[in-house]
């Protein structure tokens, strides 16, 4: 009975965690579709959580802190795109190395301002309900709902608005989009900002569940790329399914075994996918 309870709780955690992962990795997929191999994506998630922590600590309102973190990280993203990546565009290997350098910058800025000790944000709601004799916090269900709403909104934005059409056109064929009069350069900046904002939302939403730490960005980068490669690079649907799959896998295996083994299992899944379907499960 306890075992079943653990599996159910692990499964629930997995769904919540998978939806948060989906927010972050879909942000990454958007950035990757512009040929920007951004290995500092996890750092945007981490810096979002850190900014959220300070804003919520100062203001006392969770949701306002979330918005502040989102807009600040979007601005940081724009700065990176304009200031660093734009100067070396069309040379992905240099972009890759530059974003690798950004990892060190973000990690140590966080270490200087936030410190090395892990800290948690208080959840905006403390209610819980009981399931199989365990108390399950209502906040997590709420996070899952918010993630679904954001993902739906993103879908409508990308597939039902003119701006979304522009984004899809510019990432599919840059020169052709430019010839059609789409402001591709501006679109790229806004898309990068959107991807960064999604990562930071994931960061703030997850920080009442898992503690914020300066080193968590790199772990997220690793997880996000595992998901992107499993799902098929460039496929939004694949990314979403990959995120839920890995979230579920890590949720259940951390509940039954331990987090290190859970990460190993994700790696093994990646290796199996690389051997069987090197282009990912849902590649175009």
């Amino acid at each position: 009975m306890v075992m079943i309870g653990q599996i159910v709780i692990g499964g629930l955690n997995g769904i919540v965690w998978g939806l948060i992962l989906a927010l972050i990795t879909i942000g990454l997929t958007l950035i990757l579709s512009m040929d920007i191999p951004n290995v500092a994506h996890g750092e945007l998630y981490m810096i979002g959580a850190v900014i959220g922590y300070f804003a919520i600590d100062y203001l006392g309102f969770f949701w306002i802190g979330l918005l502040i973190a989102m807009f600040t990280v979007a601005l940081i993203g724009m700065g990176i795109e304009r200031g660093v990546l734009r100067t070396i565009e069309k040379d992905p290997i240099r972009i890759l190395i530059a974003t690798f350098g950004l990892i060190f910058v973000f990690q140590h800025v966080a270490l200087l301002t936030f410190g090395g000790a892990p800290r948690r944000i208080d959840p905006p709601m403390t209610a819980s309900f009981s399931i199989f004799g365990f108390h399950y916090p209502l906040y997590r269900i709420f996070v899952a709902l918010i993630s679904v709403i954001v993902l739906l909104g993103l879908y409508l934005f990308l597939y039902r608005t003119k701006f979304g059409l522009w984004i899809r056109a510019s990432t599919q064929n840059r020169d052709m989009a430019m010839a059609m009069g789409i402001p591709v350069n501006a679109i790229f900046m806004w898309t990068f900002a959107l991807g960064a904002a999604l990562a930071s939302v994931g960061g703030v939403l997850s920080s009442p569940i898992i503690a914020i730490e300066y080193s968590m960005g790199l772990e997220m980068t690793v997880l996000a790329f595992i998901i992107v490669i499993i799902g098929g690079i460039g496929s939004l649907k694949g990314t979403l399914i990959g995120a839920i799959l890995i979230g579920e896998l890590e949720g259940i295996s951390s509940a039954l075994l331990n987090p290190t083994i859970a990460r190993m299992i994700s790696l093994i899944v990646l290796v199996i996918v690389l051997i069987a379907r090197p282009r990912g499960l849902f590649s175009k």
Partner: protein, 321 residues
């Protein structure tokens, strides 16, 4: 003719390093030994990045494995210096083969990203499973001394370490130069210049990239093994971090990727630079990050690359005039 100048310069440089040893104080002896050993790491990385055009952000795996295998050999099996180093290098080669075997399946830049994934998960494993490298605390060990004709050669003696570092540096450099100048090295360069054409001409590009990754991993393992056996006598999970993977990237970039001597010069400059700033600035890794960005944006050719282009342009102008 130019080749001969290179060799004369190389012999003079080695002779100078060998002769100045007695005049250096304790810290400079350690620094020079470190630079010599780290250069092996950078040279290996240059074969992959500079000559094949393939990136790896996970070279800490091989450096850390080299150091850890030497530690485990000395601690549990009390194996001698040379045996441990040979075993450590073979283990690193094996690990590079295994990781490269999986990573090579994705195209282009995702190769580098797979190396990050592997390196971070191996770091997580070494951090939590203390039997590998002692976790965050690590462990120290003693390398058994050699007894030759009544003399004792202790690897905990700094002068011995200095000359052994120099010896291995020279051997590795000759091997590295031999690889680059060989037909194999020329094919690697052709992959860097135009992968599609190299494959159309009939070269097995995947296989060549994989062997280049394995060779470069082997150099990394040797460097880590020598570092643990001669300098630190210590290993820990921290040798597997992204900061260690970043080292050969910045060394090679500063010195000049794809130039023979560039990585060695880059290593020398950066090790001295970090030695001096780390005493005053605590978060010096942030500076390393900024430096990586500045170098890649402003001068991706590095010091040697820029010098070579400068001289080439100058001689061309003189020929025209």
């Amino acid at each position: 003719m130019r080749e001969r100048y290179y060799y004369i310069g190389f012999v003079i440089a080695i002779a100078v390093i060998a002769l100045i040893q007695p005049f250096l104080n304790y810290f400079y002896k350690i620094l020079v030994t470190q630079i010599l050993i780290y250069s092996i790491f950078a040279m290996g990385f240059n074969i992959l990045f500079g000559y094949t055009g393939e990136l790896s952000f996970g070279h800490a795996i091989f450096f850390g494995l080299g150091a850890t295998v030497v530690g485990l050999c000395a601690d549990h099996l009390s194996l001698g210096f040379l045996t441990s180093i040979v075993i450590a290098t073979i283990v690193a080669l094996g690990a590079a083969w295994l990781i490269g075997f999986f990573a090579i399946r994705v195209t282009g830049l995702y190769f580098a990203i797979i190396t990050i994934i592997f390196s971070q998960i191996i770091y997580l494993a070494t951090l939590n499973w203390k039997w590998i490298a002692g976790g965050d605390d690590g462990f120290t060990f003693r390398i058994p001394s050699w007894k030759i004709m009544g003399m004792t050669v202790s690897f905990h003696n700094l002068q011995i370490a200095y000359y052994f570092g120099l010896l291995f540096f020279v051997l590795s450099f000759l091997l590295y130069k031999r690889i680059i100048d060989s037909p194999y090295g020329k094919v690697l360069k052709s992959i860097r210049e135009n992968e599609g054409r190299a494959s159309v001409v009939g070269y097995n590009v995947m296989r060549l990239k994989l062997t280049s990754f394995i060779i470069s991993g082997g150099f990394g393992g040797l460097s880590g093994a020598l570092y643990a056996a001669l300098v630190s006598h210590y290993t820990s999970a921290n040798l597997f971090t992204i900061a260690v993977s970043g080292n050969p990237v910045i060394w090679t970039l500063v010195g000049g990727a794809g130039t023979v001597i560039g990585p060695v010069i880059g290593t020398g400059i950066m090790v001295l630079f970090i030695h001096f700033i780390s005493t005053t600035i605590r978060e010096y890794l942030m500076l390393i990050g900024i430096l990586i960005i500045v170098v890649i944006v402003a001068t991706p050719r590095g010091i040697m690359g820029s010098l070579i282009t400068y001289y080439r342009r100058k001689t061309e102008n003189e020929a025209m005039a």
